[in-house]
């Protein structure tokens, strides 16, 4: 199993969730985060001067999937989250050694 971590633009969340549902993935954990990168933050007026806030709100998705679904899952996220403009985000794949469904004690792929 792998943990797929995706950092995306917040307005893309629904579109990405739909694309994942289309490949049979409905379980995930979502966090609001601050993104720092090449994309510049919005400008704000503070004490009369304009300055650029250096982060942008992003949404982080964490999705544990069986190995055979990794490629489809990544592909679905990239396709749905892409706008072609700087700041679209990243997908990272991290190994997972065990998964447990708390409610039922199921382990491995049947836990996710």
């Amino acid at each position: 199993m792998k943990l797929i971590i995706a950092i995306i633009k917040p307005f893309k969340l629904e579109e990405v969730k739909d694309a994942l549902a289309d490949v049979g993935i409905e379980g995930m954990t979502v966090t609001e985060v601050k993104g720092f990168g090449r994309q510049k933050g919005h400008t704000e007026i503070y004490r009369g001067s304009e300055y650029t806030v250096d982060f942008l709100p992003k949404v982080k998705l964490e999705i544990v999937v069986p190995d055979e679904l990794v490629a489809k899952c990544a592909e679905a996220i990239v396709k749905a989250a892409k706008t072609g403009k700087i700041g679209d985000g990243k997908v990272f794949v991290v190994p997972v050694e065990e998964a447990i469904r708390i409610r039922t004690d199921e382990r491995g792929e049947s836990a996710v």
């Binding site: 510049k40 403009k85 700087i86």
Partner: protein
């Protein structure tokens, strides 16, 4: 000033105003630009980098860093060029392309001056900063090629980026020396003969930072225009990597027509620090070109 100096200055100022103008519409499509600006022809800043009017980006800044290093060194040193790029990166510039960042970081970590050959280094980030080498080797085409490739390879090591940088360097050189645009076209056509993917007529319509798309768009704009303003405006209104496309179109058109024919309203808007740095670097780089090649 003599006409050659004026054309060298034209190339460098053309680069800077092309960068500043194009930066407003970088990453936009031609139709988005048309909707927002009708025709974008004035330096107004803004864009995805939230620029002040007249502010330049990495295209001009890396060129200035390279020029400054050559002048300080009194000649050529690839390591001095790499150190200049590193100092520039650590100054937290407004933008750095990914390939440039990775290459400069590699130099910082292990001191190596040459990137490994790689498929994903065919961007325009090395070609865009090469003008100071051209001006400093005006009378030595062998040194022009050698030094261009040495500075390019600090970050980009790909045959198409190599070929395009050298071709653009020769074109710019011929224009500064006073040759016609036809001499320039011959060099462009020789590039296409050796690497057919660079075929630029009819214009394929792509404007990304991939060196092929950039060069095609620049050559089409320059060869179908008859003034500096026309060349740069035509180039940047196509969007995409508009600041680099504008900078390279400005470099060629400025070399062709000379500094006096660059729109005065653009020069007035250009960041005064950049304007003065360029005016100082041009005679110093030309002085290097009249030394024997070291």
């Amino acid at each position: 000033m003599d006409s050659q100096t004026e054309r060298a200055l034209g190339a460098y100022l053309g680069l800077a105003v092309g960068d500043a103008l194009g930066a407003t519409v970088e990453f936009m499509t031609a139709s988005e630009i048309a909707t927002t600006h009708r025709v974008h022809r004035d330096i107004v800043g803004g864009g995805w980098l939230h620029l002040k009017p007249g502010q330049v980006t990495d295209d001009t800044q890396m060129s200035l860093a390279l020029g400054r290093a050559m002048i300080a060194w009194g000649g050529w040193s690839t390591r001095a060029a790499a150190d200049a790029f590193l100092k520039w990166m650590l100054s937290m510039p407004i933008d750095i392309g990914h390939t440039c960042r990775r290459g400069i970081r590699r130099y910082m970590l292990d001191g190596s001056l040459c990137a490994h050959p790689s498929d994903d280094e065919a961007g325009n980030g090395a070609a865009m900063r090469n003008l100071p080498v051209v001006i400093a080797t005006l009378h030595d085409p062998v040194a022009l090629e050698q030094r261009s490739l040495e500075q390019v390879h600090i970050t980009h090591h790909h045959p198409l980026s190599d070929a395009a940088t050298v071709a653009l360097a020769h074109m710019t050189r011929r224009l500064i020396l006073g040759d016609s645009i036809e001499a320039c076209r011959k060099i462009a056509d020789d590039l296409v003969a050796r690497h057919p993917q660079f075929r630029y007529a009819p214009w394929p319509g792509l404007t990304s930072g991939y060196i092929v798309d950039t060069v095609q768009t620049v050559l089409d704009a320059v060869f179908t225009s008859s003034s500096v303003e026309d060349a740069i405006v035509r180039a940047v209104n196509r969007g995409g990597d508009a600041d680099t496309i504008g900078a390279l179109a400005g470099q060629l058109a400025g070399a062709r027509y000379g500094a006096r024919l660059i729109p005065a309203r653009w020069l007035r808007r250009l960041d005064p620090g950049v304007f003065h740095a360029i005016r100082g670097q041009v005679p110093a780089l030309l002085a290097l070109s009249s030394q024997r090649a070291t």
